[in-house]
Each structure stands twice: as C-alpha cells, then as structure tokens.
C-alpha cells in the first residue's frame, strides 16, 4: 500500500502542502506499483498495430473541425499503447498487459488551451469531440466554414529501434528471466528478507496531425527494470534499497553496467551497506555528488524552474536569460536526441523535432525549455519540449535527458581536497522542488562520510536540500568524468514522463544536510 493508492481513490484531485507545483521525481517503482493513471494491464497477445493508423483524411477533417471556430492552433494526438509488465514480489511472479487507445483533441485560442479526448477510433466520435473542443474555444466572430487542411508527413534522421519488441518475447520466457533475477537477489545474502522486482515494457504508437499541416507517425518505447531488496539483521534492523534502469530501447540495451543482474546485485549491496551505516550528520557543509544518476539533483534544483510554463508564471528563473545562474564552469544541457535514452524522441508530442538545448553555459542562463504555447508567451520558439503522458493530456513543457556537462577538475581530486563532508553515491530516494522559492530536496540512497579527503563509513537517513540558484552558485568543483545515466525515474508534474539524467562528480561548497545524527558546525565550506 502507499499513499498514492489511497489518494488516487479520488484520483481527480491534486495534493497540497509542499506547494502544488512542487514537482516530484520519484523512483519509478513506487509510481508504477500504484500507477496513478490509466491501466496496469489488459489482454494478452500481440497488439494489432495494423488498426492504429487513422487515415490521413480522418485526421485532416478533425484538425479542420478544431480550427473551424477561429482557434489559433490545433492538433490531434492518436495513440495506441501496449504496456507489458512482469512483477516479482514475495517469490511470486505475475504479468499483465494493457492495451489502451484514444485520441486527444486540442484547440489553442489566445493562449488558452481547450482539450478533450475520446477512447474511440470511430471517425464520427472523433469529429464530434473535435467540434465540442472548437465550440469551447470559439471566438465570437469566427467563421463557421471549416478550413481545408492538407497534411504533410514529416521525417526524422533520429531512430530508436526497440529490439526485441515485447510482443516477441513469450510470457513463459519472461517469467523464467524474472525467476532467475529474484533467485539471484534472495541468494545474495542470508539477511535478505524480501525482494521486489518489476520489468515493464511500453510501446506507444503515436500519430500527430497539426494545424501547421504536419503529420507525424512515430513509435515511442520504454523498457524499465527496477530491483528493490529488503534486508534485516539479527538485531531486527530493517533496511531497503533499490537500483533501476530504463531505456528507449528493447531488452538488448541492458548489458554491461546496465545488465539486469548488475541492477539486482546493486540493490542487495546497497541495502546491506545501510545495515552497517551510521546516522547522517546534519548541518551545512560540503557535499560531493558522484557521477551519473545524481543528475536528478539538477533536474530538481533548476531544471523545472526553467520550464517555460513555470518561467512564464514567475519561477525563480524568470528574467534570467544572459544572467549568471550558476557558478562559472557549470554547463547544463537538456538533450532529447541521445540514442536509447528514456527522454529521447524524434518529435515531441506536438510535432516539433527534438533537439539538444543548452540551458546554462559556463554559469550563464542561455535558454528555457519551451513548448509551442508557453514558448509563444515568452516570445521564444519551441525547443521540442512539449510532452504528454498519454492521449489523456494536453502537452506541457517537460525535460528530456538533463545533465551537467563535464568540467575540468580531475574527479579524484574532488574528494581528496575535501577535509570533512559527505559523499553522495546516489539520490535514489528521489526529490522535489518548490519552483517559487527554488527550495529543492533530494533523498540520499547511498552516502558516505568524507574524513580527511577520504570516503569512509556509509551513512543512512540523509537528505540534501537547498535553494536553486544559490546552490548552483556554490558549486566549486566540476569533475572531468561525465556519466550519462539511463534512469527509470518518473517525473511527476501533473503528468508523469520518463526522463534521463547525467553529471560528472561535482562538489557543492555548503549545502543543508538533514539527518538524525550529530550536528556538525564550523565545518570548512559550511556557513560559518
């Protein structure tokens, strides 16, 4: 059970308290087990892709209907998705398959968005829904003669092959694979008391037709694996840890550091280390963030504040173009073109080609993350960041694969030059940000004390929190060891979206560390 299952009992309402726009990045496991929207499963067998594609004339007529009452922009989003998952819990393995389909219809008029969707592929139902949306968006003096729309297919040089397709793997073979991985975790140590593993494969066939006459056909895919292990020592202390990977690719991607076995072994090793760990010290002092998945830190601490909708409404990054928003030497990039990464795609969910967008260059703000609607409100072109969770949602500006680019400090020197502080191996606990104040937090999954320039004992129960721009300016070392991490994280900002992250080793001079251990004061690099 989780809080989410409870809250979504009345799924139509958001949550408060931490700030409504406080945006969470949580471990995919938590989200998926209690999937907040849509379905978790459906009929078995292979999806009938042949039925997906709606004829061009049906789409063109729907776009025309959307535009018939004077809208500025309109699009039709057709989706058919198959979600295959296999859950291994308490030594029992079960699979589910969901088939979902629907058509989302959007009209934008004067910066306002009007949206509705239908779960039917019947042309009449689609056109009827389109007319409903057009009426809602109607301008008083609009002509009632529908415009003629002629769609032109767009092509991309980017391709994201999914090998093998989930439908090419039998249920029996899936269960055998999961069984081996569960046995591996249970056999990893005598102190293992519970193992939870989830493999999920999503294939989304999408068609987008827009009032700019663009027609896009693309297949989006995501394969994810998450392993969670509970351990208990003889004194009765219980600890849990997890590791995860996700890719816009098939299972063939998961080799080397991303192998399923590696993910399982990491979850066991991390949990066991927590049994030996000491309570995290607390206070403001230096924190060294290891490379790779800690990039989530920047997703929270600054990425969200640069999303055009939040900038427009007054986030802490508003009016910052050309101004310093991070320490010199810090470059932040959002790249939607990295092969196989979970935040990549050829076209975004409103038909704009994806791109590599530099947000901060050597400490100076260069850009924001724009979709069509909010980019226009800021006077900027779309950067291809208009994303939606499914046909049920209109697109909003979202991150793709966001990372700090590599710096010039040899990574080994960073810990060596830190007298006292903590080293964060991973922020597996996820995090959240309040974009008005820039106050962000990350839960530390794997952490260690740094004593006299060396990584020593493991710590537990730590969180790191700070204020966005202030924290970005207190970065004093950026390593030369950039690692891109194909996370299986889910970013929840009213809608959920898969994203990738990355970073080199980075040191923040002084940042708030929470824990229930000793209070550290007067630490070099701290506030005093």
């Amino acid at each position: 059970m989780s809080g989410k299952e409870r809250l979504t009992r009345r799924a139509f309402i958001g949550r408060g308290a931490a700030g409504l726009t406080s945006i969470a990045f949580s471990s995919a496991l938590l989200d998926m087990l209690v999937a907040t929207t849509g379905c978790k499963s459906g009929p078995g067998g292979s999806p009938g892709w042949a039925h997906l594609i709606l004829p061009e004339d049906v789409l063109a007529k729907a776009v025309a209907a959307l535009m018939s009452k004077g809208a500025d922009f309109a699009d039709v989003y057709v989706e058919r998705a198959a979600l295959d998952s296999a859950l291994s819990d308490d030594r029992k393995i079960n699979t589910t398959t969901t088939i979902e389909k629907g058509v989302g219809l959007r009209a934008v008029k004067g910066g306002r968005t009007f949206y509705a969707y239908t779960d039917s592929f019947e042309p009449e139902r689609i056109w009827e829904t389109a007319r409903y949306v057009a009426d809602a968006a109607a301008a008083p003096a609009a002509s009632s003669a529908p415009p003629v729309v002629t769609l032109a297919p767009l092509a991309s040089t980017l391709s994201f092959p999914i090998k093998p397709l989930p439908s090419e793997i039998g249920v029996g073979a899936k269960i055998e694979l999961l069984k081996g991985l569960a046995d591996r975790a249970w056999g990893g140590d005598a102190r293992v008391v519970q193992v939870l593993q989830l493999m999920r494969e999503i294939v989304r066939q999408v068609q987008i037709a827009t009032s700019s006459d663009a027609l896009i056909n693309q297949t989006l895919g995501l394969t994810e694996f998450i392993a969670q292990t509970f351990v208990k020592d003889k004194e009765g202390a219980l600890q849990v840890a997890w590791d995860m990977r996700g890719a816009y690719a098939g299972r063939d991607f998961f080799t080397g550091e991303n192998a399923f076995e590696k993910v399982v072994d990491n979850s066991v090793a991390k949990a066991l280390r927590l049994l030996e760990a000491v309570d995290s010290p607390r206070g403001v002092f230096p924190v060294v963030f290891g490379p790779g998945m800690n990039g989530v830190l920047f997703h929270e601490s600054c990425g969200h504040g640069m999303e055009a909708d939040l900038v427009f409404k007054g986030s802490n990054y508003k009016d910052k173009i050309g101004k310093p928003t991070a320490a010199k030497g810090v470059t932040l990039v959002d790249d939607g073109t990295i092969p196989a990464f979970p935040g990549s795609y050829a076209f975004d969910d409103e038909g704009t080609p994806s791109q590599r967008t530099v947000l901060i260059e050597d400490g100076v703000q260069r850009g924001y993350l724009c979709d069509i609607t909010f980019g226009k409100k800021l006077g900027m072109p779309s950067t291809g960041n208009g994303r939606r969770q499914s046909f049920r949602y209109p697109p909003i500006p979202r991150m793709r694969n966001t990372f700090i680019d590599k710096g010039s400090t040899p990574a080994a020197e960073i810990v060596a030059s830190t007298k006292r502080g903590i080293y964060v191996g991973d922020v597996g606990g996820g995090g959240q940000v309040d974009v008005i104040t820039g106050n962000f937090m990350m839960g530390v999954g794997e952490g260690y004390l740094i004593e006299d320039g060396k990584i020593t004992r493991p710590i537990k129960g730590a969180t790191v929190s700070g204020m966005g721009i202030e924290a970005m300016k207190s970065i004093d070392m950026v390593g030369d060891d950039l690692v891109m991490f194909p996370a299986a994280g889910r970013c929840g900002k009213m809608q959920s979206a898969p994203v990738g992250v990355g970073m080199p080793t980075v040191r923040v001079r002084g940042i708030l560390v929470g824990g229930k251990g000793e209070a550290w004061t007067d630490i070099e690099g701290g506030t005093k």
């Binding site: 059970m1 989780s2 809080g3 409870r6 009992r9 009345r10 799924a11 139509f12 309402i13 958001g14 949550r15 408060g16 308290a17 700030g19 409504l20 969470a24 949580s26 907040t36 379905c39 978790k40 009929p43 029992k92 393995i93 079960n94 398959t97 969901t98 088939i99 979902e100 306002r112 968005t113 009007f114 949206y115 509705a116 779960d119 809602a136 249920v171 269960i175 519970q194 208990k232 219980l238 600890q239 995290s280 607390r282 939040l310 409404k313 007054g314 986030s315 209109p394 940000v433 106050n439 839960g443 129960g461 730590a462 969180t463 708030l512 929470g514 824990g515 229930k516 209070a519 005093k528």
Partner: protein, 460 residues
C-alpha cells in the same frame, strides 16, 4: 450520468466468459468516470479538460493462479478477447494458496448491498457532474482572485485549478457479488507567490469536498494567500534539538506513511517493523488511529471495498496499543484473519491493493494555545518537501526538509525555511505528548495539531 445496467451486464458477461474459458473463479469491475479540470492563470482560463471514460478490469483464477487485465474498450468482443487472454496466460503465473476471488465465507455482502440515496452516506452529489462547465470556470476564477486580492504582498499565482469527478463502480464476481455504487467529489488548489523587497515565498492550499455547494473557493484563496505571506522573511535557524508541533496538514501526510506500514501485506511480506507488535505499545497513550470506510460524508466512503467486502470501522492503534492491521481477502486468508474491507482500487485499471479509506487520529481536547504552552523554544512544522523521499519506509528514519515557525515561550513567532527535521517515525509515535482538538480533513485523511517531545533539527 446515471447508473447503466449495461455496465453491470458487461461485468457479468466478463465473469461468464472467464468461467467458459476454464477458470475456477473470476471478478470484473467496470468504472465509469466523468470529470472536469479547469486551470486558470492571471484571472484567465488557461486550460479546460473534460473527460468521460469507462473501462473494465478483470481478475481470473485457475489452479491457484491469478491473472489481471484491463481495457478501455467495452465492446463484448474486446472484453471476450481480454478474458480469454488472461485465462491462457494465468497458466504461467505463480500459484499461491491464498489467492482468492471472495465469496460469502470471506465476508462478501450476501445478496448485494443497498444502493441509492439512503445508502450513500453523503458521498454522491449529482450537482458535481450537472453543474455547467461555465460555473466551474467561474469557481476557479473566484478562487484565484480571492487569493490574488487577499494581500498586497501577493505577487502572482503559480497554479490554480478546479477539479471534480463522479465515478460509478460496478462489481461482479463468480461467487455471488453483484452491485454498484457511486461517489463524487470536487475541489480546488491554489499556489501563490508572495514578495516583499527581495524576499519571495510560496504558499498553497487545497480543499476537496463531496458536494459542489460545499466547496468554498474564497476559503482556498484566502488560506493560500495567508500561508504565502506568513512565510515572508523566513530564515534558517541553527541546528538544535527541540520540541516539534505538527500542523494538521503535515500530520495527515505523516499518517499516510504510518498507515502504509500497517498494511497486513507489508507486515506479512517482512516489509514493516510493526510485524509481531499487535497488543504492544507502539505509540503514546494519547494516540489513537482509526480507519473508517463508512464515515458519513467521508471522501473515501463506499458500501463495499474493491472486492465486494462491506466497508467497516477499524481501530488500528488505540491509546498507543497496536490493535490490528488493514486486510483485504488475500491477506486475511494468509494471516488467518478477517478482511477489514480495505481492498482499494483506483479505477478499472487497478487490480487493487490494501489501502486506507478515511483515516484519522482521534482528536484530543487541547486548544492550539495549550499545545504550544510550555514550549520555551520549539519548531512549528507547516511545510514539508519530498516527504516520500525523506522518510525511509523500512527503518522509519526520516530527515525532512521543512519550513514553519519558531516557537518561543509558548508563542508562534518568526517564519523558518532552510531546515531539516530528523528522527524516527516509530519513536515519533511514542513521543506524541499532546494532541489537539482541531481535527482537520485533507482529502481522506485527518489530523489535529499535535506535539512531539523532541526532534533533531539541522540548520545553519
């Protein structure tokens, strides 16, 4: 939207097809939802999203093996294909002697359950669906305006939305369960920024009610504004160990974590440190925790749970002593107990899991002044960030980035941001030394203000 006999028929059709496909037992759940979401920004509509959606979720069981699937295509052909696919693939799944499609021996409501106004316990209001969308838009605009106009220090709104939903749930299984119920709710949320010289602060408020007429948009506006303005000038305090006062809103969020550990599923699978503690003291004498699935007007009230077991009132912790866990039928069979009617499902696509219904701390008698009285120096917690990442669901250790107010000589004084409070959830329950009388509901969880003896604060 009215109850559709068709949907109950489709559920029964699915159950019938499952039997024909050779399964021993089956259950189908159809949900039919109508909802509206309106977001406004700067006194204008930003987005309007209207949704009508129905779908079916089916569980089939054969040879002790269970399979679940769902689809939003309610045609007989699609439902038949779904069910036959499930029957075929269940064979590969892991058998479990406790898997169950519930029947009378598990406590299902014999002969169905009463439906209609008298039996609805105040959880359905036709006006939620019938109110014209233009009125809903006006409600959202009024809410935002009330916030923007509440104080000259309010700088703008970051998010302002009205949302509502009405859901009909139809449930049928091969062991005699057959019936339906309906629920509705509506509400709004607002987050505002406040500014004063170089200071910027945020404040929000969310309210959800069962009846359209009960939703007071001005209340949400005023409270969000007051929360934002009160935080202006917030500063960190130095690390210390002091008493903690928890506001009702944060209390409800912490309670949700505690409830997660009280799920029989977590206990039976070795994931909860409450295992083996029934009958022992796990909280302070003044701490009583109740889950009430039949609470009049409760936002999560229903006649039956997600598998047809009548909802009930369950005292989980009474005066500090752990009395029981939350059970569904699977956990009940495994733990040789009775289901407490706590199978939660969030729609047709959810197979369901053990979950709370309407959860609350039994209020005490202390006024807010009495809760604060006697605290020479303490922290009043009103805002938390990333709670899900700040509390370890296994060990209960927490360090929660927080904001709130300093308490000095029994009075709430200056606003505080940039601190983190550290402790352990199991210890916190034992350290609750005063419980207020101001029980306050946030969605389907309620808490009064309460005081905790001591926590470790990390600050400047």
């Amino acid at each position: 939207m009215n109850a559709k006999k068709d949907y109950l028929d489709i559920a029964e059709y699915a159950v019938g097809r499952a039997k024909a496909a050779g399964t021993a037992a089956a259950e189908a759940c159809v949900t039919d939802t109508e909802s509206t979401q309106v977001t406004v920004s700067g006194r204008e509509v930003e987005q309007m999203n209207a949704v009508k959606e129905a779908g079916i979720g089916v569980r089939v069981m054969r040879d002790g093996k269970m399979a679940f699937g769902s689809t939003n295509d309610l045609s007989r052909g699609a439902v038949r294909e779904l069910v036959e696919g499930l029957a075929a693939k269940a064979v590969y799944h892991t058998a479990d002697e406790f898997n169950v499609i519930p029947g009378p021996e598990d406590g299902t409501a014999a002969g169905g359950w009463p439906t209609g106004a008298d039996a609805e316990l105040g959880v359905y209001d036709p006006m939620v669906a019938e109110t014209p969308v233009q009125d809903k838009i006006r409600t959202a605009l009024r809410m935002e305006a009330a916030g923007l106009d509440a104080d000259p220090k309010i700088a703008g709104s970051m998010i302002a939305f009205y949302q509502d939903g009405t859901t009909y749930t139809y449930l049928a299984n091969s062991n005699g369960v057959r019936g339906w119920f309906r629920q509705s709710g509506c509400g709004g949320g607002l987050e505002l920024s406040a500014a004063d010289a170089d200071e910027r602060e945020s404040g929000s408020f969310t309210k959800v009610v069962g009846r359209f007429a009960e939703f007071d948009p001005e209340e949400v506006g005023r409270k969000a504004a007051a929360n934002a303005v009160a935080m202006l000038g917030a500063r960190p305090i130095a690390s210390c160990e002091v008493p903690l006062v928890v506001s009702p809103e944060i209390g409800t969020q912490i309670l949700s974590f505690v409830a997660g550990m009280l799920s029989a599923d977590a206990v039976q699978k070795g994931r909860s440190l409450f295992a083996g503690k029934v009958g022992t003291e796990v909280g302070a004498k003044g701490f009583t925790l109740v889950d009430d699935g039949r609470l009049e007007g409760g936002l999560d009230t229903a006649p039956v749970d997600g598998e047809g077991i009548p909802r009930q009132t369950t005292v989980l912790i009474e005066k500090g002593v752990l009395k029981t866990f939350l059970y569904d039928c699977y956990c009940a069979r495994k733990g040789k107990a009775r289901s407490t009617g706590n199978r939660s499902r969030s729609g047709y696509g959810s197979m369901g899991a053990v979950g709370t219904t309407n959860l609350y701390i039994k209020p005490g008698t202390a006024s807010e002044e009495e809760v604060l009285a006697g605290i020479d120096r303490g922290f009043y917690l009103t805002v938390v960030l990333g709670l899900f990442a700040a509390i370890d669901s296994a060990s209960g250790d927490f360090s929660i980035p927080s904001a709130g107010f300093l308490i000095e000589k029994g009075q709430k004084t200056i606003p505080v941001r940039g601190v983190s409070i550290g402790g352990n959830l199991f210890q916190l329950l034992k350290d609750v030394d005063t419980v207020g009388g101001n029980l306050t509901w946030f969605q389907s969880v309620a808490s009064p203000t309460f005081r905790v003896r001591s926590v470790a604060i990390a600050g400047k």
